[in-house]
Amino acid sequence: MMNEHTAKAFDADLLDLTQKVAEMGGMAEKLIADSVEALARRDIELAKRVVAGDAAIDALQHDTEEKAVLTIARRQPMAIDLRDVVGALRVSNDLERIGDLAKNIAKRVTALNGDFHPQKLIRGVEHMATLVLGQLKRVLDAYAGRDLTSALAVWKGDEQIDAMCTSLFRELLTYMMEDPRNITFCIHLMFCAKNIERMGDHATNIAETVYYMVEGRAIADPRPKGDTTSFASMQAS
């Protein structure tokens, strides 16, 4: 652990920033879980609560940003302290984006009323969400503990989510080819899957930020990428 600052209020400022980010992290986790549950159960009330929850996370992100700017202006942080503040700014941005993506999923719930609801496909989306939630939880712990090992594990773990997204895409294609009446539902579901895949990318961003905060430089290796939906074609299925 670092020693305390001679100016104790500086420690309080940095702690406050970290706590704000942690609070945002908890909110983002809940939004992901709720949005996917609303999707699985077609629960419109829950979906509405997710949309409202996103506004709260936006407000907290705004707060965090103001606090960070004020800390820079007031303390002129150097070295590890500066990276702490920049890290809080970046992580809060990623969490805010995760909130937006959860809101996007929730908004689709109302559009998903129809007869065709193959649970298998929804299970696929749920499974992706479980993986992303695991990644997010782990990376938030890595942020709180400035833990490089966990951060790197999350950074590498995103490949699996990308691969699931690609496989789900192929499966949805077959359903759409089988019966054009499935297209609306499948496209909505595909967007949901893509939103979850993007959440995974934000978790990876956070992992990169944690690495930067601890080491003072970016991760050197190119990240393994598993999302090949951009290249998948009809034949691929």
Partner: protein, 272 residues
């Protein structure tokens, strides 16, 4: 350069020569004693030419003591004893045959508190060139005074009152007058001992701007208590603590990712 010697003599991390630029000042195993007190312990440092090197550290860490070694100002303190080697352009400045007055013309100094002579603005700047015999005529002397004041960014403000007393100027102007006085004798190295600590932020900004211009022609070494100032004006930074040169390196690295824990603690305000 024998890097093995550096590792042996100094605790400094990365005391290697800086950024591929030719070192103007080379210090090796420099120790300073004030009577019994060992104030500076085996310092190795290369100062690259035409750049600004900042010396930082808490009070009593030895940074000013080191600065004062470079123009042999410590000679004026009877109980001070300096060992080791300091070279400027590969010439040992502690060589007994070296003319100290000449050395101090080559290595100018600007102090914490502006200290103009109680003479006219003109005379303040003309004094050095006169005693060193740098000007053969009044016209030449006028030319030196004008260009020195211009280089110090003061000429426009004082050109109509060169005969007024130097002490009539504001603090920031007095400090720039001292800088003009220092550069009037065409030094190669300028030592600055907390040159802005008595100045307001605007006067400070002017001096910092000036340092940035002066480094095109001079090698500047500055002692400062303001970390932000060191980060703004210098290319190299050296951190001293308890008489030891702890770490030295490119300024951008020193203030973002210092290697030594003591440096990190100091620059982030964690020293007890």
């Amino acid at each position: 350069m024998n890097s093995m010697v550096q590792v042996k003599h100094s605790e400094a991390v990365g005391a290697a020569p800086g950024i591929g630029v030719k070192p103007k000042v080379i210090a090796r195993d420099v120790n300073v004693y004030y009577g019994e007190k060992h104030a500076l312990k085996s310092v190795d440092l290369d100062v690259p030419e035409r750049s600004v090197t900042a010396l930082i550290g808490p009070s009593g860490c030895g940074k000013s003591t080191f600065l004062r070694c470079i123009n042999r100002m410590n000679d004026t303190i009877p109980i001070a004893r300096v060992t080791g080697k300091i070279e400027i352009d590969e010439r040992d400045i502690y060589d007994p045959t070296l003319d100290v007055v000449q050395l101090r013309a080559r290595v100018g100094m600007v102090f914490q508190k502006p200290n103009p002579f109680p003479k006219s603005i003109y005379e303040n700047v003309a004094y050095g060139p006169k005693i060193h015999g740098f000007a053969r005529s009044k016209a030449e002397l006028d030319e030196i005074v004008t260009t020195s004041l211009q280089k110090a960014g003061l000429f426009e403000e004082v050109k109509d009152r060169l005969n007024e007393s130097g002490t009539s100027l504001s603090g920031g102007q007095q400090q720039r007058l001292c800088i003009a006085r220092a550069i009037a004798v065409s030094p190669e190295v300028i030592l600055m001992d907390e040159p802005c600590s008595a100045l307001d932020p605007i006067a400070t900004a002017k001096i910092e701007e000036l340092m940035d211009e002066l480094r095109a022609n001079f090698t500047i070494i500055i002692v400062t208590h303001s970390m932000q100032q060191a980060a703004r004006v210098s290319q190299r930074t050296a951190f001293f603590h308890l008489g030891i040169l702890v770490e030295e390196g490119a300024t951008e690295t020193m203030f973002t990712t210092p290697r030594d824990r003591r440096t990190q603690d100091y620059i982030t305000g964690r020293f007890g």
